[in-house]
C-alpha cells in the first residue's frame, strides 16, 4: 500500500540515495519539522504556589510530567506504540487529511501520596493513583 507513494527519480549515476532525502515515509520521523518524537516532559505541580502549605504537610509539590511529540511512521520500539497506533500511522501516510497520526499519551502512570491536615486537624495520608506519568507512548 505504501508503494504508490514512492516516486523514484531515475538515478543519474550509481550513487546511493541519501537516507535523509528519501521521500514519503521517512519524512518527518525525527523532527524534520522541528518537532520531537513522542517523549516525556517535565511538568511540576506546586502546592506551595497554590497557597496550600497551611494544610498540605508533604510534599510541597510533585513532578507530574506530560507527554508530547510526534508519533510518525515508523514508530520505534522506544515509542511503546500499540499495534493500533502502528496501523493508524500507516493509514495516516496515505490519507493524512482523513486520519490523524497516533497520539502521544501516557502509557504508564504511578501514584503519588499526599499528607495533609483536615479541618479537624487530623492528619491524613492519601495515596492518589495515576497522578504521575512514568512513560509515554503512541496510542
Amino acid at each position: 500500500a505504501v508503494r504508490p507513494l514512492r516516486r523514484r527519480q531515475p538515478k543519474k549515476s550509481n550513487e546511493l540515495p541519501q537516507a535523509n532525502r528519501l521521500p514519503g515515509i521517512f519524512d518527518d520521523v525525527h523532527g524534520s519539522h522541528g518537532r520531537q518524537v513522542c517523549r516525556r516532559h517535565e511538568l511540576y505541580v506546586s502546592f506551595q504556589d497554590l497557597g496550600w502549605l497551611d494544610w498540605v504537610i508533604a510534599p510541597q509539590g510533585y513532578s507530574a510530567y506530560y507527554c508530547e511529540g510526534e508519533c510518525s511512521f515508523p514508530l520505534d520500539s522506544c515509542m511503546n506504540a500499540t499495534n493500533h497506533a502502528i496501523l493508524q500511522s500507516l493509514v495516516h501516510l496515505m490519507m493524512p487529511d482523513a486520519v490523524p497520526k497516533a497520539c502521544c499519551a501516557p502509557t504508564k502512570l504511578s501514584a503519588t501520596s499526599v499528607l495533609y491536615y483536615d479541618s479537624s486537624n487530623n492528619v491524613i495520608l492519601r495515596k492518589h493513583r495515576n497522578m504521575v506519568v512514568k512513560a509515554c507512548g503512541c496510542h
Binding site: P59, S110, S119
Partner: protein, 244 residues
C-alpha cells in the same frame, strides 16, 4: 515537609498564576484529590506546636509510602495492604477508673470519628500507646487487653467488646500497637458516636494493674508520646467528582 518533588526541577518553565486562574486550578486539583473543598485546619496554640505523636507517625508512613509510589508490591505497599487512605485520630478524652485501689483498673480513651469519609472501607485500625519501663513491676509479664465500649450503662458496668490482647514485659519500652479493626464496622454504622476504647492491664496471675503504673502513657505524656488511633481505608475512587 519533605519527600519527593520538593522543588521544581531546574529548567522547568514557571509562571505566576492570576487570582482567578489559581482558584480554577485549585478547584480542579481538589476534585482530583477527592476533596469537596480546601481543608482549613485550626492553627495550633503556640504551646502545642511541638511535634505530636500522630503527625510524626504519619510523616514516617508518608516517607515509606512516597518511596513506594513508583512501584507496585514494594515493602511499604505490602505493609499498608490495599489501603490508599490513612487517617490518624488524636485522643480527645481520657478517663481513668478513679476508685482508689479498687480493681479492676482501666483507662478509657475517646476519639472523634465524625471525619471518617463516607463510602470508605476500613482495612485495618490500630490503637498506638507508648510504654516506658515500669519501675513498680520489674521483670513481670503483663497482659494488655483492649475493649470497645459498646454501650454505657448508668447502673452497671458498660457493655464491652474484646478487641485485642498483647503480652509484654514490664521493662519494655516503645510503642504498643493494639488491633482495633474489629471495632470498625460499628464506627461506620454509628459514625456520629465517639469511639470509646478501654484498656486493661493484668499480671500473669490475673491481678489488675493501673495502666499508668505499668508504664503506659496517656494524654498527659509529652506530645510525641501521646496515644492515637490510626485507620487504614480502601477509598472509593474520587466519589466527589462529578461527570462532565
Amino acid at each position: 515537609g519533605g519527600g519527593p518533588g520538593l522543588r521544581p526541577p531546574p529548567g522547568c518553565p514557571q509562571r505566576r498564576l492570576g487570582a482567578r486562574e489559581r482558584r480554577d486550578v485549585q478547584r480542579e486539583i481538589l476534585a482530583v484529590l477527592g476533596l469537596p473543598g480546601r481543608p482549613r485546619p485550626r492553627a495550633p496554640p503556640a504551646a502545642s506546636r511541638l511535634p505530636a505523636s500522630a503527625p510524626l507517625f504519619m510523616l514516617d508512613l508518608y516517607h515509606a509510602m512516597a518511596g513506594d509510589d513508583d512501584e507496585d508490591g514494594a515493602p511499604a505497599e505490602r505493609r499498608l495492604g490495599r489501603a490508599d487512605l490513612v487517617m490518624s485520630f488524636v485522643n480527645m478524652v481520657e478517663r481513668d477508673r478513679a476508685l482508689g485501689h479498687q480493681e479492676p483498673h482501666w483507662k478509657e480513651f475517646r476519639f472523634d470519628l465524625t471525619q471518617i469519609p463516607a463510602g470508605e472501607a476500613v482495612t485495618a485500625a490500630e490503637f498506638r500507646i507508648y510504654k516506658v519501663p515500669s519501675i513498680h513491676l520489674l521483670n513481670r509479664t503483663l497482659h494488655v487487653s483492649m475493649f470497645q465500649v459498646v454501650q454505657e450503662q448508668s447502673n452497671r458496668e458498660s457493655d464491652l467488646f474484646f478487641l485485642d490482647l498483647q503480652t509484654l514485659r514490664a521493662g519494655d519500652e516503645g510503642w504498643l500497637v493494639l488491633d482495633v479493626t474489629a471495632a470498625s464496622d460499628c464506627w461506620l454504622l454509628k459514625r456520629h458516636k465517639d469511639l470509646g476504647l478501654r484498656l486493661y492491664v493484668e499480671t500473669e496471675d490475673g491481678h489488675s494493674v493501673d495502666p499508668g503504673l505499668a508504664g503506659l502513657l496517656g494524654q498527659r505524656a509529652p506530645r510525641s508520646q501521646q496515644p492515637f488511633v490510626v485507620t487504614f481505608f480502601r477509598a472509593s475512587p474520587s466519589p466527589i467528582r462529578t461527570p462532565r
